[in-house]
Subunit: 355 residues, 4 copies
């Protein structure tokens, strides 16, 4: 199903080269003021065409709100938004019908949908479907902010180029605001140049490169989530893995914690300004599936986008023989910079659904 | 909620030192024969007390089936099973009421449940709740096997001690069967000794150690799963993160794929015995959230169990002052060997729910 | 939530005088041919403005399909459709903000949404929201027909004017087809005139009148549904009560069965053409929540539409005093004729979700 | 699925002559005191064997609580309860395997479960499964009472014998309390005798008789529920139709409203003690799917129990020929008196899930 959530219900629709894409966001309470400029800023952060790190396809991505918002205020009815598909060049994708691209959903979708799926531009599998997700997330994070919960992510790495990590116990409002407005969100400004170099190198080689996004949710009340299937990790990971190209998710010290001793990994409690805090944050702000009031910190690994322009081995599903493929069309050499706002949006959606 | 699934519905109940724990598994079709010996073998693999790697608490863990199975055959009604709690020593845990253990759910549960939760033995947060999950998984994997789908996991690492990885494209029935019967499941027999050494070292230091479990689902039909929130990664990760102590989940090349180029990470297609296969399996058998017929391969990172017997800093919630804590009671120095069958069970549950 | 279903997921959005209304229908398998003329015919049956029985507001109600259908064939992606709101006269409703209409949702919605809901034209509560439901049902019933399942409803009564009942054991294709195309669906042509008289009388008195719709689902396979919360009655009633103005739902002999003896109400089984049938159909085709292969027959009671033009007692929520109200605007004296296709659509949606 | 609810999750398990039946109730907040005597009283009201109106089968129906309640207080963990099956005489049912009882689920269950379902005593379809539902409802209504919401039902009719109706606008605490403790709940004491006569007559004729239960939910806050699929009517009807033998549900003036004019059926608003009330209550306390603060009133029609001891026509599924059947065993001539507490319990469950 293309929907998510229990307290809210998010339903995403559309195909990359169809008439339009969009989202219905149900369960948002009435009476919240939505700042449209802040919303459009988030959508612009995800939109491609800003520079050489992304696909030259220009999308206006203007969200046409059909219902649920009146006078910039939520009405309590489902919020529905349609984004028209423009600037599509469907001719580019014609040979994919019989020769599926390695690493892409062409083959698996072909089997699942018996060849009836709209393959143009990736159809319902396109990264373009993250635009309505950013729209929905941009609404929910404005409401979360009114409750004191802020979300920020940055590019942790692109290939071998790395940014600093979040300080896991203290993340300043200043850093959050600066990341939230950036179209290439990094903590250390030196990291940006080395990352851009890695991306440019991949672009010139007609190749692509992966990366990691690190995300923090700051200001969580204590006691959200629950044991077993109600845990924050499970809910957040379900949302984050819905982003195309994500192949790993970890919380706090994550995979590294598997190398540690309990005495190293446990976060001691202490009172600080009459509040219970932990002096370290290896748990990523989550104990027993429940928020402990420290920043929730997680990382999502993005594989390199599979659409590359070098020749690859594949099969021809019609002739049932091995084949060679060179993918044409406009592609991102690295989706990670644009994915930052998508990760933030998904985190907002999952967190909102839990509180 | 302590429940999971759409086509099936798994509901886990119980508290570690209460009257009993158990599970209701709804949606299992009628007419499947269940081999009780195979089922009990899986429960025995998870049960503690087998050797020095685990807690000396002996549990019989006998599943008392209340409904849904008649003459060893599923009736189509919900399968309900109760496991009595015996051999509990609740006195051990009394001081945790006011001084929460670092790394454990004591503090967050205290806040969430206003102090009304059953704290004895971890209550509803106890790793003991994985026993009914193994029960449910043991039923579902028997049905999956009748459909040609097999699941096997092994201890990939304990601290710095490592096992071989699965060959991601070919996993033999022989290896699967041998892992499925092992109480210390490793591919390389040399790995076992070094892992046992690491665990024994932690036990002697009254400490604990984490590790990684790698799991493979072999024989998946092509076309299971879907885009966005219907993807296999999201569904599996939601189930795997419900296991206490899991802090990271990755599929295929996972976090390593973030370091790769597209040309390195894409898995070329080829025809092999008239079947479409990939020559590598960096995708972990999943493209666009949908199975491609290759083994589904994922890894789960387990943090070191937080229950350690060394002195730790914590707080006293009654006096609202910083405090020291030494946890008494019987604890696993490493939960990873016992977690192998839990990971397999959860994978069975999630996969069954998708097909 | 404005959504329904487990195997399919229907999400309805929109407000009567907002930008547009619509629906997302997720979970429809790929590869089904949809006949757009048949679909538009169903939408036309529901649309108002055909004659004096309904509101003179003319709506074009053209469904703009955004995704999920390509070349008149389902792609497997969510089917999204937007219907623009045109011909709205919002000025008519201004006084309802403080003086809620008796029998309408004005007061309860005001409390639930703190006054932020879009009250114009009934907002999200408008009967107009049934247009996207008819759209979704029209798609699903075409697929059901390809599986041999047909759905037909008729106006069973309007006020005291009554149509014949369905023959509960045999309903001909001829009757089904004729009802499916009719904009005033009755079995007995004499019934139509007496019903129109009742409606015209109500219209002239600036009043409204209620009625009953009887619906049959023919060609159900045996074995659909289940006990307890999985029963057909529960699923269908949940869908039917979602139609504005429905206040009662009964299956088979329904409320009349409460007057009967078991020996009168039980439907004897017999073999007919090697098939198990029942000689009567007091059960309405459902035993133990499960279809028995006979026609599923149910009736839905519609209260008279609360929007009437006579003076009524109400309150003024601003002055907190009792008040008088005369509702202006364009209203149906009887929604029942138009509701027939809505009941059929809802039945199609609920039945599709179960098979 | 044998489960219900969104905010709470109720899962019912068991087969009539299996090892045990029970329920898991998830989502109940921690810290609510549960009065076990009041709980057992409700279970006793449903239990059979009290007098000649019900089956002579004696059930102790003692709820063995496995988890979720400690020191008579909810812990926040799922509440699980098992009721052992005792006093079962399975031999009575042997001939039903091939000759399904008219009006019962034997045939439809046989087809759905391919003959693998546990047919003894009705298996998972048995009215006995309402015992755990009453258990769950008894917990939830205690919590609702702490929030000022009370639920009471009475036998509205048995065959042609009728009780008074609730005064739809004012229902006294005295009446509620008296009904809540009664094992034959009627408003008018004269009604009881005529109903008992009708039942006794049916019993002597080895027949059965149906009836209607009327239920009121008093003290609802304004603003609960919502439009479309979120309406109170849909939610309540889904729960009520899950009770075996219910074939009709209506709210307020229900089917009668279909005979009325809008000017007759609309409930005028007025201020009374500074509160908005309606002077009549034809809406049954629900406008636009949302509570308006007046008593929620609904009626459920129970068909006569199909288990009768007179000879009936049926089929032999083995020989594939028409057959005669005389059902042996112990049966209720009328389930309606015992159903009163089941209706109240289901109402409590559905209402709790909405607030």
């Amino acid at each position: 199903m293309s929907s998510f959530g229990t307290k809210i219900k998010l339903t995403v629709f559309g195909e990359s080269h169809g008439d339009g894409i969009g989202v219905v966001l149900d369960g948002v309470p009435a009476g919240y003021k939505i700042d449209m400029d802040k919303l459009l800023l988030q959508m612009a952060r995800r939109a491609p065409g800003k520079d050489k790190t992304s696909t030259p396809r220009l999308e206006k991505d203007f969200p046409d709100i059909k219902s649920g918002i009146l006078n910039s205020t939520t009405t309590g009815a489902p919020i529905a938004c349609v984004i028209e598909n423009t600037n599509t060049k469907s001719g580019d994708y014609s040979n994919l019908l019989e020769t599926p691209r390695p690493g892409h959903s062409d083959y698996t979708a072909y089997v699942k949908y018996n060849g009836f799926n709209d393959i143009r531009g990736g159809g319902h599998f396109s990264g373009r479907l993250t635009a309505p997700i950013v729209f929905a997330g941009a609404i929910l994070r404005q409401i979360l902010e009114q409750k004191g919960i802020k979300i920020a992510a940055h590019i942790s790495s692109v290939g071998s180029a790395r940014d600093e990590s979040f300080n896991p116990t203290v993340i300043s409002d200043e850093l959050i605001n600066s990341l939230n407005e950036s179209s290439f969100a990094v903590i250390s400004s030196e990291a940006e140049q080395s990352m851009r170099d890695v991306i440019e190198q991949a672009r010139k080689a007609r190749d692509s490169v992966g990366g990691v996004v690190e995300c923090a949710v700051v200001g969580m009340p204590v006691g959200v989530g629950g044991p077993l299937f109600d845990g924050i990790e499970g809910k957040l990971s379900q949302a984050i893995f819905a982003i195309p190209a994500v192949k790993g998710v970890e919380f706090g010290s994550g995979f590294n914690s598997a190398m540690l001793k309990g005495s190293e990994n446990n976060d001691p409690f202490e009172y600080k300004n009459d509040k219970v805090v932990t002096t370290t944050n290896n748990s990523g702000g989550i104990l027993g599936g429940i928020s402990n009031g420290m920043p929730i910190i997680f990382r999502a690994a993005f594989k390199p986008t599979p659409s590359i322009a070098v020749e690859q081995n594949t099969v021809n599903l019609t002739t049932k023989q091995n084949a060679k493929l060179v993918v044409k069309g406009r592609h991102d050499p690295c989706v990670v910079p644009r994915a930052v706002s998508v990760v933030e949006a998904m985190a907002a959606i999952a967190i909102f659904d839990m509180i």
